[in-house]
């Protein structure tokens, strides 16, 4: 590595996390640790019906018997589940505020700092936002417009109250609580998250967005998102996340379930920018997320796009179960790791129905001392006639202290199905750097530009409305290269 490259690396290493501020707000939280009392407490706080509490307690019992999955390429100390707060709400949130005049101005200020205005006059044009602060949903914008179309966009706590039949039917139907320990844990203690229901033949005219923010110290965030797209409907959803800079590790174990019925389409985009820890690997979020979509009906489509730049540890495999004939699953991913970050991320495409198609485009960039692993599973079951998968995963290494790993599992039990997989790993191309610099770009600008070009296939999948916002969130890791 030439000296220029290492200088640029150092520059990257020094880039500070912009969203690391803490909001000084009093929070309301019970004791640390996990037991049936805490779960009952959460359920009571949310005013939940009995069936919900029973479900939670069942999941808790399952969790007690499970141990954390070990197969990922990650190293971290064992998580002490008794040393975490499972519920934290800004004071005064016993009831969700009816409008923003009831919301603590400090909170609104927090979201403004993050570039997410909640005041009605400033709301992001064409984007409905549900903001989740620690364990509770703070505000949902554009609610009126959505209601006119029959679209339900609210916090999951609210949905439990107002749409129990939908929640009962679909919660845990895509990710069974017994799937693995993190899904059982989330099912037992989830605090808030978003719920979306798009009725038959409705194309949601705006992007729906949730913004997650962990503020309180030593708090775990366990949000639960459930999106149901009824026959012939369409919805695009974006999730953004940040957390303050702290030198202890915080746990985030979300579950996201998507259900697309016949002819429906769900587009789910994530720009994940949890605090990654400092240059020495201290602090940061442990992000153990289970995201799974079920293409239940014929001709349905689920598309995941993720830009992962944050977290000390990322363990995340947004997946598609392609059950309906002709259904489509897509996964577009950029994962950038720096310093001592570790990411083990990828997807799982399970082809069950006939003529199902899936596409995977994954771009990994490793810098510093980080470890970046793509793990993907593509399987064709016996009945998946004429199913197809195309996978392309490319890794870029910047510096010789990091690692890039590609671990695909490919399983075919159907002879008319076709899977094509391509992968490459290389360092940043010196010839390209030279060319850019000959045109007057600095070394750092050149690196940014080339890395950005490398990710283009994925970045262009993000919804237009979020282009600016996404760029802001990505800019820290790709300083100067987006644009």
């Amino acid at each position: 590595m030439d000296t220029k490259t290492s200088q640029t690396l150092d520059k990257y290493a020094q880039d500070k996390y912009k969203y690391g501020f803490v909001t000084d707000i009093e929070s309301n939280r019970p004791k640390k640790g996990l037991d049936e009392d805490i779960i009952t407490f959460i359920s009571q706080k949310k005013n939940e019906p009995k069936w919900m509490l029973t479900w939670r307690l069942d999941c808790y019992k399952k969790w007690l018997k499970m141990s954390d999955p070990q197969w990922a390429n990650l190293k971290f100390p064992e998580i002490d589940y008794q040393d975490i707060y499972y519920y934290s709400a800004p004071k005064g949130f016993e009831e969700k505020p009816k409008d923003l005049s009831e919301v603590d101005p400090k909170l609104i200020e927090t979201y403004n700092k993050l570039g997410i205005p909640l005041e009605e006059q400033k709301v992001l044009a064409g984007v409905a936002v549900d903001a989740v602060f620690d364990s509770v949903s703070v505000a949902t914008t554009y609610k009126g417009e959505l209601e006119k179309l029959g679209i339900v966009f609210c916090s999951i706590s609210e949905a439990v109250q107002k749409h129990p039949e939908l929640v009962k039917k679909y919660l845990g139907s895509v990710i069974p609580p017994g799937d693995h320990s993190f899904s059982a844990l989330n099912s037992a203690v989830f605090t808030d998250g978003s719920f979306v229901y798009v009725p038959e033949n409705v194309k949601c005219p705006m992007e729906l967005s949730t913004y997650f923010r962990i503020n309180a110290e030593e708090t775990g965030q366990f949000e639960r998102t459930l999106i149901i797209a009824d026959k012939g409907s369409y919805v695009s959803y974006l999730e953004g996340c940040t957390a303050p800079q702290r030198d202890t590790n915080q746990l985030h174990a979300a579950n996201v379930e998507l259900i697309a019925l016949e002819d429906a389409e769900i587009k789910y985009s994530t720009v994940q920018n949890w605090y990654p820890g400092d240059e020495d690997g201290k602090g940061g979020i442990y992000n153990f997320v289970t995201k799974r979509g079920l293409c239940k009906g014929k001709n349905s489509k689920i598309s995941w796009t993720q830009v992962e730049t944050g977290s000390a540890i990322t363990w995340k495999y947004p997946s598609c179960i392609l059950k309906g004939d002709n259904s489509i699953g897509e996964f577009y991913s950029v994962a950038i790791t720096n310093n001592f970050q570790q990411a083990d991320t990828g997807t799982k495409m399970t082809h069950i129905g006939k003529n199902t198609r899936s596409k995977i485009i994954s771009k990994g960039i490793s810098l510093g001392h980080s470890q970046n692993t793509y793990r993907g599973n593509v399987s064709f079951l016996r009945k998946a006639d004429k199913a197809r998968n195309y996978t392309q995963c490319d890794s870029l290494l910047v510096g010789n202290k990091c690692g890039a790993h590609t671990i695909p599992y490919i399983d075919s039990k159907n002879n008319s199905a076709i899977v094509e997989h391509e992968a490459s790993t290389s360092k940043i191309n010196e010839g390209q750097l030279y060319y850019c610099r000959q045109r007057g770009l600095s070394h750092e600008e050149a690196v940014s530009l080339i890395v950005n070009g490398f990710c283009k296939q994925v970045l262009q999948e993000l919804p237009m409305e979020f282009a600016v916002e996404a760029q802001k969130l990505v800019s820290i890791s790709l300083e100067g290269s987006v644009g």
């Binding site: 030439d2 220029k4 191309n429 010839g431 390209q432 030279y434 060319y435 850019c436 610099r437 000959q438 045109r439 007057g440 770009l441 600095s442 070394h443 600008e445 050149a446 530009l449 080339i450 950005n452 070009g453 490398f454 990710c455 283009k456 296939q457 644009g483």
Partner: protein, 246 residues
């Protein structure tokens, strides 16, 4: 002002000596042609001028516009007005020319303490120059050099030069791989750009190019040094009987 002076330049790569006490002086507004057989070190010279870090400068001096060029890094040289049209322009997938060249020209303007050019004016300028070079707007939308034919790549280089407005441009075999029509377009582009303030070093294999661009001087290079200098008649001589007489 000394425009460009190369004095006893010795260069090696991986321990192998390539340039051997190389000397040349180029003044403002002059066009020089450099000819020589394959492997004589022409591209090496071009790359050493541009600052390619693969080459090791063992000794010698290069003065460009009164400063020691060898003290500058690649981008500083470019910002100072040196442009290299590459023999083999590299493909950069996913990167579009518009933001790329916009950043590029602004880096130069900033270096010259001039105001930067805004997005709109830049896009207009780019379109206009592209049209003159017969580059379609479709081609402007593609990633840099990606999937371009040899001729398209060369035209793209000239387009970039026309935007960046360098004081000193080095063309490394820009003519090779071009058919007659493309050669005409490229040379027209170069001729149009030529003025009393800027200078060219044209590296070529064939006399053909020099029929379109009239050089003030022609140099013949062999084994890492200039063995003969003269005017256009040198090129005719080479065309007739090759390099063996040099």
């Amino acid at each position: 002002m000394i425009f460009l002076n190369i004095n006893n330049l010795n260069v090696s790569i991986e321990g192998k000596k390539i340039l051997n006490d190389f000397n040349i002086t180029i003044n403002e507004g002059e066009v020089h042609a450099l000819m020589g057989p394959n492997g004589s070190g022409k591209s090496t010279l071009a790359n050493v001028l541009a600052g390619n870090e693969d080459y090791e400068v063992n000794s010698g001096k290069v003065i460009f516009k009164d400063v020691d060029l060898l003290d500058l890094n690649i981008e500083e040289r470019a910002q100072k007005g040196l442009f290299l049209a590459f023999q083999y322009p590299v493909e950069i997938p996913g990167v579009n020319i518009t933001p790329f060249l916009h950043a590029s020209i602004n880096s130069k303007l900033k270096n010259e303490k001039k105001p930067e050019i805004d997005n709109l004016s830049f896009t207009k300028l780019l379109r206009k120059n592209a049209e003159e070079l017969g580059i379609s707007s479709d081609m402007l939308k593609r990633s840099i050099n990606t999937g371009f034919s040899g001729g398209e790549k060369k035209r793209y280089e000239i387009l970039q030069m026309s935007i960046l407005n360098p004081e000193f441009a080095v063309f490394d075999e820009t003519d090779s791989g071009l058919d007659v029509d493309a050669l005409r377009i490229v040379t027209e582009g170069i001729n149009k750009f030529k003025n009393p303030k800027n200078s060219f070093l044209i590296i070529t294999h064939y006399q053909k190019l020099l029929e379109y661009i009239h050089p003030d001087y022609v140099h013949v290079m062999r084994n890492g040094k200039i063995v003969k200098s003269g005017d256009i008649s040198l090129a005719t001589e080479i065309e007739a009987s090759g390099y063996q007489n040099f």
